[in-house]
């Protein structure tokens, strides 16, 4: 009797167990969905700010600048120069003329200068992509009411002049040129330091190191360094590269230096700091790639009388290099996105000229994004979003290269 009762209990229980199984499986699915929704929200949020309507107000209406009924766009360079002379301060006009005489300038150059200095278009209000698409009528009405003189146009904040212009205090004219060049300079230094150092360390650990306590210590240490927060590397860089090695990182050992970078807050310091930061990642990735090379290759090489280094150089490394490169590219994309250590090392807040040497002041794309995001004005949010898109495209293309390398060479051995 008791046996049957238990069986009934068991059977009663079954639907409930399946119900809760179904419930939890749904919950796990939803959680996965949340992760994907977060990614979509992030991307949409950025796109939303990078495009949209802009109401531009001109300080002086271009139509009033027309001479003898000829509109501004069609005026002769001499007339444009005249307009400029009339409307800007004499000092500015002279400075411009000294920089490059107006007679030698093209019509477009003078026209741009007139627009920038005389007409002075300024964004009175901006709208997000979503609003621009959905509430177009409302925006039109609002502009007509609040900014009667403003012109409404749809703008992509990421455009040719944004990519090519240097930093500016005016969001309408600011660009990422200096920041992108700065990022490239810094990452080049990082790579020059971390790649040979990291691959060398990986070769030592995989090919030479025996199971001694010191080698185990190195390995544990590398694993721990990979978990140190990036800002700590920034503090280390500040103490060692910026302050301790100031004569080297400021370029003073090569002769007289630019007084603005004499404090060592240079591209070189930034690159080396990021080099320390990604070194553990490069080592760990390279170790995995070297470990994946079959031992039979080494034995065959030794068997033919090759020395240890000949074996590594001619047989192990050629087979491991795709993996090493993939890992290095991923580490470099980490370096490209780093912000905190560079703020601590002393990225410059405002540079308008291109970096020319490792001893120049620096700013990078993430630093620029951080600064623009911290500004309260809406337009800076818009260009921050545009800069984020530039950064994400660079990172995405690096990752595509990494995945391509991995797939291309992974089946070879």
């Amino acid at each position: 009797m008791t046996q049957i009762k238990e069986k009934e209990g068991f059977a009663d229980n079954l639907p409930q167990r399946h119900r809760s199984g179904g419930f939890w499986s749904r919950l796990f699915q939803i959680s996965t969905g949340v992760g994907i929704v977060a990614l979509i929200a992030l991307l949409l949020n950025i796109t939303n700010s990078a495009f949209g309507y802009v109401a531009t107000e001109n300080k002086i209406d271009p139509e009033t600048l027309a001479i003898n009924g000829i509109p501004l766009e069609q005026l002769h360079p001499i007339d444009l120069t005249y307009i400029l002379e009339q409307n800007v301060s004499a000092g500015f006009f002279r400075a411009q003329n000294n920089e490059k005489p107006f007679e030698e300038r093209t019509r477009e150059e003078i026209y741009d200068l007139v627009i920038e200095r005389v007409v002075e278009p300024e964004a009175a209000a901006t709208w997000s992509l979503f609003d621009s698409l959905v509430h177009k009528d409302k925006i039109n009405a609002e502009v007509a009411e609040k900014y009667p003189n403003a012109e409404l146009s749809f703008q992509s904040w990421i455009n040719g002049s944004f990519l090519l212009s240097p930093q500016s205090a005016d969001p309408e004219r600011a660009g990422v040129r200096t920041a992108v060049l700065g990022s490239l300079w810094v990452v080049t230094i990082t790579l020059l330091f971390a790649f040979p150092m990291g691959v060398g360390a990986a070769i030592y650990l995989e090919e030479y190191a025996g199971d001694k306590w010191f080698n185990r210590l190195i390995q544990t240490n590398i694993n721990n360094l990979a978990g140190v927060p990036s800002i700590i590397y920034g503090i280390l860089g500040l103490a060692i590269f910026v302050r301790g090695m100031e004569p080297i990182t400021s370029g003073a050992f090569l002769g007289p230096v630019d007084p603005t970078t004499a404090n060592g807050r240079t591209i070189l310091s930034a690159g080396l700091t990021l080099g320390l930061l990604i070194l553990p990642l490069v080592i760990i990735n390279a170790q995995e790639a070297i470990r994946a090379v079959p031992g039979s290759l080494r034995q065959a090489s030794f068997g033919l009388g090759a020395t240890k280094w000949q074996t590594i150089w001619h047989h192990v490394l050629p087979n491991a290099i795709p993996g090493i490169l993939t890992g290095t590219i991923l580490a470099v994309s980490r370096a490209l996105g780093e912000t905190a250590p560079l703020v601590v090392v002393g990225a410059s807040t405002f540079i308008t000229f291109d970096p020319t040497s490792p001893f120049s002041k620096f700013t990078t794309l993430p630093i620029q994004i951080y600064q623009w995001t911290s500004r309260p004005q809406d337009e800076f949010r818009n260009i921050a979003a545009a800069a984020i898109i530039v950064l994400l495209i660079i990172l995405l293309s690096l990752n595509v290269v990494a995945v391509y390398l991995r797939n291309r060479y992974s089946q070879k051995i």
Partner: protein
Amino acid sequence: MQNSIDLRKKRRWGETLIQASLFIAGAFSILTTVGIVYELGKEAMNFFAQVSLWEYFTGADWNPQIDQFGIWALLNATLMTTFIAMLVALPIGLSISLYLSEYASHRARRTLKPILEVLAGIPTVVYGYFALTFMTPLLRGIFGRDVVDIYNTASAGIVIGILIIPMVSSMSEDALSAVPRALRAAAYGLGATKLETAVKVVLPAAISGIMAAFIVAISRAIGETMIVAVAAGAGSNFTFNPFEAAETMTGHIVRISGGDLSYDSIDYNSIFAIGLTLFFMTLSLNVISQRIVRKYREVYE
């Protein structure tokens, strides 16, 4: 037979030189750690020459202008953002790992995993932008503008959580996938449902890996900088209200080192003291996580 080959081992100086330089490259990482401990320690000593350890570790006010250096003002904000991040990342990350390893079809896994990897590859400053321009307005919309400040730890914490989800899910999934199929087959054979197999058999078998993932996630959240620098606010504030602005340890370092910091000022010294505190916190969490993996790993042969 007279000029026979000399079979004795030849000393090759080139080889020795190469090995020596490779050894230096390997040992360089030790130098980095020594550098961190030495430099941070040295400047922190200068700091503690002016501020007593007791004040530093017990004070709840951090106002360098009036010589108040109590780490709890900053540490509390760090713990708040970390706690909020864990509330988001641990349940969602664990659920995703269970879904991917136990439920998802091969195809679903192949598409979902790269998407999560993309999430992990986005720079943190972008997440900071996301926190400020999306999460904060969202929170203010839900709870009201009077309740939620423009800068607040809740928004920063939630977004740190989102940032960490892929890390938790991929580490946990590795642990779950390492559990042998035979255990699942045995559970099914005894009549367990899919959920019971996953939660009562597979999960306990992988618990060491999952715990390790959780601890590494906490360490990562504590060290996270840009999200809090952008979204959590400036100025120390000892509060337990997640909707108020409060500066974390990392956020404080970024803010005061952003300007041209003069050496040998107490501000300069203080970032090293905070950095050292941060370093030991994350280091001990990482060491604990490695210990757990090594000690409690179930070995199946």
